[in-house]
Amino acid sequence: MSGKIRVLIAKPGLDGHDRGAKVVARALRDAGFEVIYTGLRRTPQEIARMAVEEDVNVVGLSLLSGAHKELFPAVIAELKKAGLNDVIVFGGGVIPEEDIPFLKKSGLGAVFTPGTSLQTVIDFVKNNVKPR
């Protein structure tokens, strides 16, 4: 029997908006994944450490403060440093369409902008992530 998919939902940086992160975390949990939520004000290093500790398959980053171009790539860099090369990373929050190509090039598998349905996020995890 293959293991369950483990998801880390993270809040990098100083942004205090956690409604979306919590709703997504709960939806993913209801969809059958194991979900850990980091809480607010995590540094990229802390997020990578938690990803290692919790042995996750996928990391979701939530950010509404405009610092995504600095913080999302920083998280990906820390994940790589920690040896987590097969972890899928997705992002969401207030992210202008025009920044998405840059974020994808930095290594994000998907970016979920305002109006995205929970089903879309669930399907992305289902279709792109394999449990170890």
């Binding site: 100083l14 205090g16 709703v23 540094t43 403060s65 405009g66 109006g115 929970l118």
Partner: protein
Amino acid sequence: MKKSEWTEKAKKLTEKFPERKKEFVTGSGEPVNSLYTPEDMGEVPSSRYEEKIGFPGEYPYTRGVQHSMYRGKMWTMRQYAGFGDAEESNQRYRYLLNSGQTGLSVAFDLPTQIGYDSDDPKCKGEVGKVGVAIDSLKDMEILFKDIPLDKVSTSMTINAPAAVLLAMYIVNAEKHGVKRSDLTGTIQNDILKEYVARGTYIFPPTPSMKLITDIFEFCSKEIPKWNTISISGYHIREAGSTAAQEVGFTLADGIAYVDAAIKTGLNVDDFAPRLSFFFNSHNDLLEEVAKFRAARRLWANIMKERFKAKDVKSLMLRFHTQTGGSTLTAQQSDNNIVRVAVQTLAAVLGGTQSLHTNSRDEAMALPTEQSVTIALRTQQIIADESGVTNTADPLAGSYFVEALTDKMEAEAKAYIKKIDDMGGVVKAIEAGYIQKEIQNSAYAYQQGIETKDRIVVGVNKYTMEEKKHGELLKVNPEVEKKQVQRLKTVKTERSQKDVEAKLQDIKKTARDGGNLMYPIMDAVKAYATIGEICGVLREVFGEYREKVVI
């Protein structure tokens, strides 16, 4: 015809011609009947009027806190604004004042709100993004350049380090010859909601409450026209709560602040007249109007019966409103102009004292000049063209609105009682109760959207392929560099010895007791930075650790 006959007849018709939905509910999920009559307002309407509805400007203030309401004075049009550095924000403030807004409202960036300087490694990428970067008095001086602080009232959305920004505001005003006793404005200064809905806390609850009550005491002596706090429901609602929770949790926070202030030895009438509130204006117009009316009535009752306030000003719930940011869509963003117009009507029909209207592009970025102009014009059109300002509380007596007001009051009261039974808001937060309630409502709200029980036009109904949207505001990426440079300059130009001494004074007061506003004012005058001042306070008070509730 009697009501029961009508109901029978309507039922038969519904069997033949079904209604659009099985159940009709408000935006917050309250069931709505097909008909409301005088029966829904309780007993005999005329005696009920005196007790429950009353008169504008008179207890229990259901109908408004002023006798003349908007016939006397329009609400203050106060657009929340700020981005980049102080120069850019100063420009936007002067543009907004020239466009007819009647009060200022300052948005600070996250480093400032969380007590860090722009050069702190934790702040990479955050400087100037969600508001203006303020590191020291120098930035404040630039922020208010050419703005007459004796004529313009300023609201500052700052919480954990509110004492520092208030000190900077006063010192800057006095440098420009304005007496502190002439200053008008507000600081949000509401830490309790930060722990459950907004997230820009620094210190744990107990020292945070001390900072807040120090400010109450300081202002009652030094700046009597200043609103010392803006007890907020806006963010609680944005975090996903229902309307009743918005009122219940906000007034519970208010009770906690009044309790804390009284415990320090202040008399309730010394500070209560300068408490103010801040609510959301959401989609369901009639429910929102009921919400505002219920909040006023409930607070007046609490101040009179629970806290035995004697000054009538202590009983009046005065509030600022912001239209609900979370209702804005990125899809077909011009639709947001319509949403904001409806939400503006709700706030005005609800009797707000001050209003910020969101711009059409704010689901995606901070507003462009063009977008914020439309948002301001929305207020001006409703003020000058719609006629709803011609009389106080025009919806009073509506069977539906009165029934909803009663229901809202009862539900909010029940939340307050629950929190009282837990030992108050701080205990309720420690137990994760408020966070869980908000989260459950938020999840239910989103599930409604997923199942289409809740329609969001352009998102789950009437969707369409869109051309690229208009220009969005981009914060100058050089701001972080500029602020770091300015910090270096400030530090070389000031007396380092003086700053060290003043920081030690803050530390001593924080440790040993005394009103922190005075040593903070002295440190600010010496050009100590917000990071330095909050750093010292962090040493003494420690940092809050979030209780992660999921």
